[in-house]
């Protein structure tokens, strides 16, 4: 663009040299308002997402921690003046050591956390989508009280995540929680939910399912409304059963919406920090940590280890990037979605 402003040449017959600037200018003239419209967002994202990312990658190759971040160590002398000397243990470039430590299990429990993350993500997304779809199909029919049901079912979405986390932790409290008193009234022994890895993970997954179904339901309901009603009429005339209509009209019609919400849901659940952090707190003994929460504790409890945090961040981002690449490729075979 600087070439354009620096070279306000009148439209002379295009020579070989000026062909490039004039193409740039034509592109600029054609697209400047599109660029102007996206510019603020691009700048903010570049500063707050892209730069931290690049910096994170760099930091993950160093041994930067809270303790060694200062370039100089200053000590106050008796006279009141400050004496500064270079920090002998200043942070430095250490190559891939952080990655080796994390992946080999020297630091933290990468593979255990990854396994839990996969179970957590799969469990949540399957139920989010399944329940969301089921409820959306029901709500898409004309019936009495439809509007009321819709409001009630979407309500969990309006509750801030940390409040829901707290509410469910309260419900699953072993002494005075609602869950245990329900079990007791059914004649089942109360469960110490957070003492066992699987019951503990169960509480977190239940919380997150409760939290996430409304979004799926609303998105799928929106998708269903764009499916033309004539398709259903034609199918009905042809004698298609309700199941056949669902299978052959609703599901294919929802495909673009489904693909997007499943991808987004997977990414969001994978990085869902507050639920695990607040509901299970990793109990028992860190056995229910997912990658984000485990990494957060490993890096930020005690002396803050910035380089370790960045290493985990880069690894998590890589996993998700690889996943979405495969996901996209799988979708491409059935036609472009985005």
């Amino acid at each position: 663009m600087t070439t354009v402003t620096a070279d306000p040449a009148p439209p002379t017959p295009p020579s070989g040299r000026s062909a490039r600037p004039s193409r740039l200018r034509r592109s600029w003239e054609k697209h400047w308002y599109a660029w102007a419209m996206v510019l603020p967002v691009v700048i903010v994202l570049a500063v707050l997402i892209f730069y931290p990312l690049v910096r994170g990658i760099w930091i993950s190759l160093t041994n930067l921690t809270e303790a060694n971040q200062a370039a100089e160590i200053c000590t106050r002398s008796i006279t009141g003046g400050e004496v500064c000397a270079e920090n002998p243990n200043k942070w430095e470039f250490i190559g891939l050591d952080n990655y080796v430590n994390v992946l080999s299990g020297n630091v933290g429990d990468f593979w255990q956390w990854t396994a839990i993350t996969l179970i957590w993500t799969l469990g949540c997304v399957v139920f989010h989508y399944g329940l969301g779809l089921g409820l959306a199909v029901m709500l898409n029919r004309p019936m009495w009280g439809r509007g009321l049901y819709r409001v009630l079912l979407v309500l969990p979405w309006a509750v801030p995540a940390f409040v829901s986390a707290f509410a469910w932790k309260f419900i699953f409290n072993e002494r005075f929680g609602l869950a245990n008193s329900l079990l007791t009234s059914l004649g089942i022994d109360p469960v110490d939910w957070f003492a066992n890895q699987w019951t503990s993970l169960f509480t977190a997954i239940v919380t997150n399912i409760w939290l996430g179904v409304p979004f799926m339901m609303v998105a799928l309901l929106g998708g269903m409304q764009t499916i033309p009603g004539e398709l259903y009429e034609a199918a009905e005339i042809d004698g298609a059963s309700a199941w056949q209509r669902f299978r052959n009209i609703t599901l294919p019609g929802l495909r673009p919406v489904s693909m997007t919400v499943i991808l987004l849901g997977t990414i969001w659940t994978f990085n869902m920090f507050p639920i695990i952090f607040l509901v299970t707190e990793g109990q028992p003994a860190g056995e229910t940590e997912i990658l984000v929460t485990g990494a957060f504790r490993a890096a930020f409890e005690g002396i803050r280890n910035y380089s370790l945090a960045s290493t985990y961040g880069v690894l998590i981002l890589s996993i998700l990037l690889v996943f979405s690449m495969f996901y996209r490729r799988a979708l491409r075979k059935q036609g472009e979605v985005w």
């Binding site: 994202l45 801030p160 409304q225 009603g229 990414i267 990085n271 507050p274 945090a309 998590i316």
Partner: protein
């Protein structure tokens, strides 16, 4: 353009009549057998109870005194009292926190709507160089594990002198909300026929006037969802708030109310009251926006 030829790209204006026409044209479907009807309503009532249960339980608990909240003896109402609320409201910095939260959420909402709408519109209507990379970037921002890369973000905020200020939070929340909202709005804009734009252009509207006077008013449901989403993102967020805000008078409500409860041995009775107080404004915004949620949320859009 090509959108007009695809049957899936029903206009939002047309989508509603289609849906209601379906109810009129096909009475056969609404005449379901009593057993089926019972099953349908039974399932929906059960689901509604599950959706509502935890909220109601916390609400009921917030009116109980401390000993009753922490007792294994369950009852819906026990010695109802407003003591928990009066503690949270008057013995903390509540009014200040509420004001901070309203400021942060309102600005996040307004700026968020504006930026998502302009970006979504540009991505939907103009085939400019950099369009696809931008869409990909939006997706990547969703993969960003902020819990872990919060330190570089903190460093930047510190460099701009934004630590312990509300704008730091507004900017951070915008980065969370705008990419998703822009994507969502793009899907909705795609469903508004471009013939409208062309007609307005013939009448002498510039690109921005078309956006502002023609497309934006038609996209009201999607704008409502964006408002809801951005508001909620800012309203309930705790992590950035705990990283960027240091003094009591700058706390947001969500963070402040979490603060005064000690991490070990939580005082559940105050937490319940605090939870209700945080949720109520979010619920109000939800009630305003909920009418538009279904038609406005076009995740995935109509085409890429």
């Amino acid at each position: 353009m090509s959108q007009l030829t695809t049957p899936a790209a029903a206009t939002p204006a047309a989508a509603v009549p289609v849906a209601s026409a379906r109810t009129v044209k096909r009475p056969g479907r609404s005449r379901r057998s009593p057993a089926k009807s019972l099953l349908l309503h039974g399932t929906l009532i059960l689901a509604s109870l599950i959706a509502l249960g935890p909220i109601v339980w916390v609400l009921l608990s917030s009116f109980k005194p401390g000993y009753a909240v922490q007792s294994s003896d369950m009852s819906l109402v026990k010695d109802p009292t407003l003591a928990n609320y009066s503690y949270v409201l008057f013995d903390t910095n509540f009014p200040k926190w509420l004001l901070n939260s309203v400021i942060v959420a309102a600005f996040t909402m307004l700026i968020g709507i504006f930026f998502s709408a302009t970006t979504g519109y540009a991505v939907s209507r103009f085939n400019f160089p950099g369009r696809r990379p931008l869409m990909m970037t939006f997706l990547i921002t969703q993969m960003f594990p902020a819990a872990i890369l919060i330190v570089p973000i903190y460093t930047i905020m510190a460099r701009f002198g934004l630590i312990n200020t509300l704008p730091a939070l507004i900017i951070a929340y915008l980065t969370i909300a705008v990419p998703f909202c822009a994507w969502m709005l793009k899907g909705y804009f795609d469903s508004i026929p471009t013939s409208l734009d062309e007609a307005a252009a013939l009448d002498g509207c510039g690109p921005f006037a078309i956006f502002w006077r023609v497309v934006l008013p038609l996209a009201r449901p999607a704008i409502a969802v964006t408002a809801f989403y951005t508001f909620l993102t800012a309203w309930g967020e705790v992590m950035y708030a705990s990283a960027f805000i240091q003094t009591d008078n700058k706390f947001t409500l969500a963070y402040g109310l979490q603060q005064f409860v000690p991490q070990f041995n939580p005082q559940w009775e105050y937490l319940t009251a605090a939870a209700v107080l945080v949720t109520v404004p979010a619920g109000v915004v939800f009630m305003i926006a909920q009418r538009h949620l279904v038609s406005g949320l076009t995740a995935g859009g109509t085409k890429g």
